[in-house]
């Protein structure tokens, strides 16, 4: 399959490298890493084993790549206003667009621009970061759940799952992409939000009964809003307790949004908080704590006016 990776941060570089290693024709649209990858290829340092791709199709513009079978979108969600410019040159008649981005609203925006029938969503559980130019570090996990934005032809999902599995990725299909996205938010909203706001790792929140309760209450607000969206099978309230116990086992873990804040990068508050809040409000869900957390995060990272 001819694949273009758009948004080649840690996630795009990692999955793109795995796909190329498994024999797919992968083209990377690169900015920061272009020169390094062109000269020395791409190095992957992974808990599953390091590897080096010495020859990589690296490009400076999407026009240089041209139409592909699959666009793999790994952009940070605050760059979604670049979709049209970056993706249009990659589209042929039957090109699929798979977004592995965080949060909600990405499929909807892609569908609005390029037609919903092309759009596949993937929920990625990946812990990775960029190193030096031309390098990517895979620290843990990596599972992807993929599903159609519009349920038209589930065989596309089977094909993508098979492709990822052949590349060594733990991947499965879902017939309820919306539920998969919201399930991830049940974890992401409290832990990314509170850890970024307080600049404390997950273990510190879980060790204190009041913050542990707050995490649980945030999760229950997300679960209720998710179920009001019309998911096929409701997320049970017990999922919150499962996620708490799952996180107890993660030890001194810093969620990506905490790391982004500590390193002064922009946070994905829109996709992870504001869009879910808007979707929640659209069905009458009450999310006072999630709303408050979003506001506090925005304000904490809002530079003072001059």
């Amino acid at each position: 399959m001819r694949i273009a990776v758009v948004g080649a941060g840690a996630l795009g570089l990692y999955y793109g490298a795995l796909l190329q290693r498994s024999g797919q024709e992968v083209h990377f649209f690169l900015r920061r890493d272009y020169q390094a990858v062109k000269e020395r290829g791409l190095k992957v340092f992974s808990v599953n084993g390091d590897f080096h791709l010495s020859e990589v199709n690296a490009w400076r513009t999407p026009e240089d790549i041209g139409p592909v079978d699959l666009v793999l979108v790994g952009l940070k969600t605050f760059a979604n206003d670049s979709f049209s410019r970056l993706i249009t040159p990659l589209l042929g008649e039957r090109t699929m667009i798979l977004t592995l981005q965080n949060g909600l609203g990405n499929e909807e925006e892609l569908a609005r621009l390029f037609g919903g029938e092309r759009i596949i969503g993937g929920v990625a559980f990946l812990c990775s970061n960029r190193g030096e130019p031309g390098e990517v570090h895979h620290l843990a996990a990596g599972r992807i759940i993929v599903g159609e934005h519009l349920p038209l032809d589930h065989s596309r999902i089977e094909e993508l799952v098979a492709m990822f599995v052949a590349a060594g990725v733990d991947c499965r299909g879902s017939d309820d992409l919306r539920r998969a996205r919201w399930e991830k938010l049940v974890w992401n909203i409290p832990f990314n939000g509170l850890c970024a706001l307080l600049q404390q790792s997950v273990d510190r929140l879980l060790a204190v009964e009041a913050t542990r309760s707050l995490v649980r209450e945030l999760m229950l607000e997300v679960i209720e809003a998710a179920n009001m969206q019309g998911v096929k099978k409701p997320i049970p309230a017990s999922y919150a307790e499962e996620m708490l116990e799952f996180t107890d086992n993660m030890g001194v873990y810093r969620p990506s949004m905490q790391i982004d804040r500590e390193e002064g990068r922009e946070l994905e508050i829109g996709a992870i908080f504001r869009t879910p809040l808007r979707f929640g409000a659209g069905v009458g869900a009450s999310m006072p704590r999630v709303e408050m957390l979003a506001t506090l995060l925005e304000q904490a990272t809002n530079p003072p006016r001059r």
Copy 2:
């Protein structure tokens, strides 16, 4: 009137100095400032005019002071477990105890220890801080609203009001101390809490619509809980908007809890948040945002476990 000041921080030193200047017999129980005050007296730098008391009754123990007519309590509320030790030696048959402390629960605790009939509450609106030992700075305001903990003999209130007014304090009596306390919380909970958490002055919160709304929502939760306590005259919801506009005029103002946090001092989260939440829960008031703010403040100032 023979008066003992217990908890001679900025508030105790300031009001005590005004009372002494007006002719009352004031005794100060001092720790940090003892030596300086003994040697050089007490200097008050005030927006209403500086003054110096060269002779001050300064004592190292409450036993040295003995029974008085009025105990003026200015302790930080997290020191309330010293009430018994510090106040018992000051009590005679008819001694009144006036607490000018922050938040809720102080009168109740004093009443439990010393009998409710002695207890008068005062809600102080004072902007002051300590300077060098033997000095106190009065920056703005200073109004006190006093009321009986148990409505027994309103003439005591009239006497105290007259005494403070004679000392140059803007003072008035209230027949609903509970309402006065809660009214102050309508401001204190959102502004002290959010400014301390975010380490931003009030103007920055008010300049952004999302944080301004959050301040309003916190105020409305406090107003609802206040009214459910059985105040004589409900606080109208419009009081929130009044307080927002009042605060718009304060400019770059840092509430005391923000300053306390920035200077590494302990915060009065119990009296300003946890006790009001407990009183609210006792009458079935829902305060999810206030509760979340309390939890975040505690966690933000909670040192990591070793």
